[in-house]
């Protein structure tokens, strides 16, 4: 059967073009790959190659013809043993209609298919019950993180930790202290100073099913690796149709330390929370750090685990349990209250707690929610609280534009508009690179008074 040669598209957006030149004539023999014509658009000229072997039976569109529609028949190719006579017999109506009829997809540009509803998030599990009589052990965040890794590494040989100074130096911030001694250099891997490269190595290892914990000395340095985190770790599961993903943890200190200037003081909570395919955790207490890091290591998805240098040395009670694991995606109500909801996470909690205590003395009873997980976010817990208090203040150290707080404010005004008695205020770091000077640095960060003022403003407490 004679084969139609169609006007090809040079790009996905091309609709028509000019048939500039035929480089063959009727009767010429052609094979796959032979150039037969040149077509042009306003952007480019391109050669058209024959795809099949045969003889040019008929040139349908003459050279020099302008505005030839994509997929119009421009020539007819005869296969071995066919003659021009076959064209008329088979192709009486071949003028401009493309011949592949039913095989073409129904292209309906008039209206887009309606977007399916986003699936309803599965309600995260509640925190495990802590049996009565469980010993509470005062533990620093540093040790809690170390214990979490050690326990998970004991449980599975697939878990290993890699990063700069994690092994022999015992961790730049001593989070991996003792791990080399217990697990050896195969599983506690010192890397060169190569964030982009070792993040990629970690993702590649995870794609085979290993469970890497990639430590960044700080998340500021992970900016060198952000392509691997987002384009490789977060998107592979989707791009592979569910065949493979990156079950791994990227962890390290995030946010401002003290007097280290603009390049070493930045909160990435909002950045990573923007990306589908990632989970983002930012704990405050040692117990949450331990329980959530264990959960993150077990999670089959890439998890960003944002720690804070200032919190590493702070001590909290951690339950002495064999396997203390907390649910990812569940906020923790730090203190119940009725007058105003404060939502914070990570180091932001330090400002929120102090403000809450001061406000309590002034007779304002705040409910304080520690998000713990930024993505997926426990919006229901926030909504439930706001429906009770009618007021909301969020607290974080990150930059103000497109902050985590602004995301929360949008969700709340949409879902609980009628319950709100005041505008929502999000307290953030200032909209400036972090200055070095001590006085300016202090001004750039949120402070307790700002939180107190915000709560007073929304409660109209003057």
């Amino acid at each position: 059967m004679p084969i139609d040669i169609l006007m090809p598209a040079l790009s996905p957006t091309m609709e028509e073009g000019n048939l500039a030149k035929w480089t063959v004539k009727e009767g010429d023999k052609v094979g796959p790959g032979d150039v037969i014509a040149e077509i042009e658009t306003d952007k480019a000229t391109m050669e058209v190659e024959a795809v099949e072997e045969g003889t040019i039976g008929k040139i349908v569109v003459a050279e020099g013809t302008e505005n030839v529609k994509v997929n119009a028949v421009i020539a007819i190719l005869l296969e071995e043993g066919e003659s021009a006579g076959d064209i008329n017999a088979e192709k009486s109506s071949a003028k401009s209609e493309p011949s592949d009829d039913s095989s073409a997809p129904a292209k309906d540009d008039s209206k887009a298919a309606s977007v399916p509803a986003e699936p309803i998030a599965v309600e995260p599990a509640s925190d495990p019950d802590i049996p009565e009589g469980t010993k509470m052990v005062p533990t620093t965040v540093r040790v809690a993180l170390r214990d979490a890794m050690a326990e998970e590494m004991r449980a599975s040989d697939d878990v290993f930790v890699m990063g700069e100074e994690v092994a022999e130096y015992q961790g730049a911030y001593k989070i991996t202290q003792g791990l080399l001694d217990e697990f050896g250099p195969r599983r506690v891997v010192d890397t060169p100073i190569t964030e982009h490269g070792f993040a990629g190595v970690g993702v590649g290892a995870a794609m085979t099913g290993l469970r890497p914990i990639v430590e960044f000395m700080t998340f500021n340095f992970a900016m060198q690796a952000i392509d691997q985190i987002i384009n490789s770790a977060a998107k592979t599961l989707y791009m592979s149709g569910g065949q493979m993903g990156a079950p791994m943890v990227f962890r390290g200190p995030n946010g401002a330390a003290a007097r280290v200037g603009a390049q070493h003081s930045q909160c990435y909570a909002a950045w990573y929370s923007h990306v589908p395919g990632l989970k983002v955790i930012m704990p405050y207490t040692a117990a949450d750090a331990k329980g959530l890091l264990k959960a993150a290591i077990r999670d089959p998805n890439p998890v960003i685990f944002l720690e804070n240098e200032v919190l590493y040395g702070q001590t909290f009670d951690v339950p002495d349990m064999d396997d203390f694991v907390l649910p990812i995606g569940k906020a923790r109500i730090h203190k119940k209250g009725k007058d105003c909801t404060i939502v914070s996470f990570g180091i932001g909690m330090t400002y929120a707690i102090k403000a809450m205590e001061a406000l309590s003395e002034q007779g304002i009873d705040c409910e304080l929610i520690d998000l713990r997980t930024i993505r997926p976010m426990d919006i229901p817990t926030i909504l439930e609280s706001v429906k009770k208090t009618g007021r909301l203040v969020t607290v974080e150290e990150g930059f103000p534009q497109s902050s985590v707080g602004d995301f929360i404010a949008n969700k709340v005004q949409r879902e609980a508009f009628d319950y709100l008695d005041a505008p929502i205020i999000s307290i953030c770091g200032k909209d400036v690179p972090m200055p070095y000077a001590a006085n300016l640095e202090k001004l750039a960060l949120p402070n307790v008074d700002e939180v107190i003022d915000a709560v007073k403003a929304v409660t109209y407490a003057g």
Binding site: N71, E118, G197, G200, A205, L237
Partner: protein, 347 residues
Amino acid sequence: MAARARKSAPKKAVDHALLGSIPAPEPAKLSKDEELKAYRDMLLIRRFEEKAGQLYGMGQIGGFCHLYIGQEAVVTGIQMNMNDGDQMITAYRDHGHMLAMGMESRGVMAELTGRSDGYSRGKGGSMHMFSREKNFYGGHGIVGAQVSLGTGLAFANKYRDNGNVSVSFCGDGAANQGQVYESFNMAALWKLPTIYVIENNRYAMGTSTKRHAAQLDFSMRGVSFGIPGIQVDGMDVRAVKSASEYALNHCRNGDGPIILEMMTYRYRGHSMSDPAKYRTKDEVQKMRSEQDPIEQVKQRIIAEKLATEDDLKVIDKEIREIVVDAAEFAQNSPEPDVSELYTDILL
């Protein structure tokens, strides 16, 4: 003074033997079966790609579409030596690699058309396709990123001590990316079993190697890390086979990574929408007529009487049927269900 200092600096030809570039082994002598397999495998890639180009022209394939035509001998020759557990990873010019790894032409083509029967159920497209079953780890759209990932595959092989080798492909353009050298360093430091295949097709999109590379001999790109390299005639499947055999043994012996620079050529533009104005038609024509990888095998087969023209025509017909079937399948497969929008984001 500075000028004088420069003048007195030693001007010495680079000594490849000292720096780690090793001469390519003699091209392998292929058996009759191997020659016929090479012919068949390369022809499948070529016909598949021609069909993909055609479907692109018809608007059935969207977005970017990078064809492998001209480079078929590279992946075909390497795959001939690979073991079952060995992994392959490459960038976006990936259709040939998938076919070589035994992935179904139907599934690959259906992914190109963005349909539910594609390897990624239509959600990956030409540049993002994977097969856990066939140990093909993509299909990556960010130039150079696959080199670090492939190094990670090798890390996992060493961690598990499974004896497998990962083969990471990149182009001459990607060979300038920083993370490639970060990966070289770690792979050499940790003696990871990985082959870095640099497919030097002479152009990083529209920029010729002369205009983008300070060191034109890409087999030397591992010198700073003590990684040996071999420059290979990537248009001759026999040369590719013998070099990759050497490289795979090198990795399996625990000697760490090795670079294979494949001197190759793509006949088509960088992607479908590249008119390739940066090179002459004569240059392309010369490669096609003098060094075509498929033609080379074909001529040997005929000259050595391993098969007749008619035997090869039977293969040609078979391949054409596979490709026509794949194209038909890919156009008839339904688009993914709208519910797929929200699946495979998290497990």
